[in-house]
Subunit: 432 residues, 2 copies
Amino acid sequence: MSGTIGIGLAGFGTVGAGVYRHLVRNGDVIASRSGLRFEVRGVAVRDLWKRREYPLPRCRIVSNPLELLEDEGTRIVVELMGGKDAAFELITEALRRGKVVVTGNKALLAERGVEVFSLAERYGVPIYYEAAVAGGIPIIQVMKEGFIGNRIETIHGILNGTSNYILTRMTEERLAYGDALREAQNHGYAEADSSLDVNGWDAAHKAIILASLAFGFWVPWGEVFVRGIEGLEGEDVKYAEELGFKIKLLATIRGMGGDGVEVRICPTLIPRSHVLASVSGVYNAVAVRGDVVGEALFYGRGAGGDATASSVLADLVAAARALENPPKCAGFTAHGLYGRCLPVEDAVSKFYLRLAVEDRPGVLAAVAGVLGGAGIGISSVIQPEGHGGDNLALILMIHNARTGDMQRAVERIRELECVSGSPVLLHVEDFS
Amino acid sequence: MSGTIGIGLAGFGTVGAGVYRHLVRNGDVIASRSGLRFEVRGVAVRDLWKRREYPLPRCRIVSNPLELLEDEGTRIVVELMGGKDAAFELITEALRRGKVVVTGNKALLAERGVEVFSLAERYGVPIYYEAAVAGGIPIIQVMKEGFIGNRIETIHGILNGTSNYILTRMTEERLAYGDALREAQNHGYAEADSSLDVNGWDAAHKAIILASLAFGFWVPWGEVFVRGIEGLEGEDVKYAEELGFKIKLLATIRGMGGDGVEVRICPTLIPRSHVLASVSGVYNAVAVRGDVVGEALFYGRGAGGDATASSVLADLVAAARALENPPKCAGFTAHGLYGRCLPVEDAVSKFYLRLAVEDRPGVLAAVAGVLGGAGIGISSVIQPEGHGGDNLALILMIHNARTGDMQRAVERIRELECVSGSPVLLHVEDFS
């Protein structure tokens, strides 16, 4: 394709402004590699008068993103405005008008992927969404193309930079959760409203997209097990370290053959020696195990305007090529090898269980009795020193157990007289 | 594209047999993801009667690979036979006849890439070569597409699994070089003729391909600085560790703007804390720094039939799609932003210098005098204890210096009366 390709840019926040800036700055290198030149013909912003670090470009500026579609010369729409309803309207209307879509909207795709991709297929217009998962790491392309010959066995991902930053500070500096969160906000790593980061849903949206690509059906978001790091106690970070683990907000995706796919996002203990344990700060990483390729790992900046802009630029080139040669796949191919999520209760995992117990004989026997009665094996028991007061910490590392059985056993343990407060139950992933 | 696509497979060694096996085993998953089915219509092997771990498939078996091209139904030729002359003939003849080429032949591409890609362009038939670099890591696609919007600043790669295995064993078990090499051979990690592994050229071939993709001109193999790990002494592995470094066979590729591109492959000290230092055994890793994406790292199995087969399978799908929609790029696009290699003498680096010196006063003054006279700064001096005998080890860590100046200074130091034996000079990369 020659000539210049018109783009409409919806959203001019960190990522949108980054895309514009790097498109101007690296337009020559993109052109020399791809033969393609891009022109931003319109930008949609919510607030025309907002003070901005990077000024709006000299082009058509609109406040209603749908107006971007009225320009005939706009062939590609880049949706970076976030949110769900207006973005859904823009994307579906763009597809209907034959404009190729590039988006970084993980929440929209995770929750309404089935609708979005079936519209894309109906109109024969593709959607590119590399920017939706893991910032600058080209993991979407790897899943769609690089590993196309593999049955994916597991994916483990550190997919939320804010949570990982907070956990890193809690681990390295022994900060309390609240202090680490405030630090992240002061550094600009966490939004003022960081709820989707710390409640696990930002990572969950990304995990749903990865799991869907790997297993060929759009994973229903309501069936995914999601816990965030909010309220995680520094105590558990410390005990985990003493046991040789680090706590990460880990997405675990595991194909169980005919039994479905397990997708869970939660604070998880991982062995300190595993490479994912050394992913610190705002970095993201995705480890994939395929039946042909074995173990592979991808690591990079997970957020920030620049890293994510890199993925948008790559998608722009792919989108421009698709204008000339429409691809067979509009963005997602169902392949029907697995078709369901494993209910979380049926998923088998190792666990870390911390209890506050009375300092008297017979306590361990009572706790072990409940677990034994449920057929749950204990792999080790640790009674950390110190503490003082009436209560002691008691930590149990649990062998593989059905999650549902484990949860019920913990409920019964909580009711024991010798146990006070709320037990802390965390998943342990040893990558075996 | 529907129907079945005929393939001719040249070479049925570890990788070739792996491709065949996984194509049979995962044909269903590839078909459900891509809509494509493949049929191996012919296999070329050098020795028809050789005993094989995996038996030859039931199809046309030939000993002259050019005969694969005579079959009209063969649309894609997969060259996994290695070597240079016969492979060049097969590939160029395949292109001439319009058959898309998939190859893992790093030596051929590194040394004759200019010819091969200009023929591909002339005939308008593409070549795919993901299998040529870093086994199962889809780094070629990342360089060609994922990071297309980036000016690449540096690439650091651990690209030879055999060397990395040997260095890992020398580091962890304090094995001597020869013992670690024999162990690698016994495990099947090193060929009986492992010269291309340990002399650095296998890694150099891969680095040339990566550098060429990053900087848009085919890097002339004669201008690359290549040293292997052969003859590396356990002593230096040990001293490096004491100084906080690990020795890796590292490919360093660095864009110097108008000054050209530095490409060097040599045993290099890297800080123990850097993520590349923890890449051990037969694994490969590639760290890329781009001006938009920042730091990114890709890690996986670098060799072995399976991991490499994963890349070939991905290339088969890309090749099949190219049969329907011939891509603009036949495999390599020159982009003329840089056009030359920086001569090694002009490259600036930090260094580790080990000398065997007499145990008497004035030695350091003499050595430091030579370095100072050449304008070379010493960042630290270490005199390890022990040894005995007349000679002591003296280790100098050198600030950034022009390599040519450093080499001349070492020549002069070697001539000092107080210095005996051959000085050991190694590069230090601190990723700053």
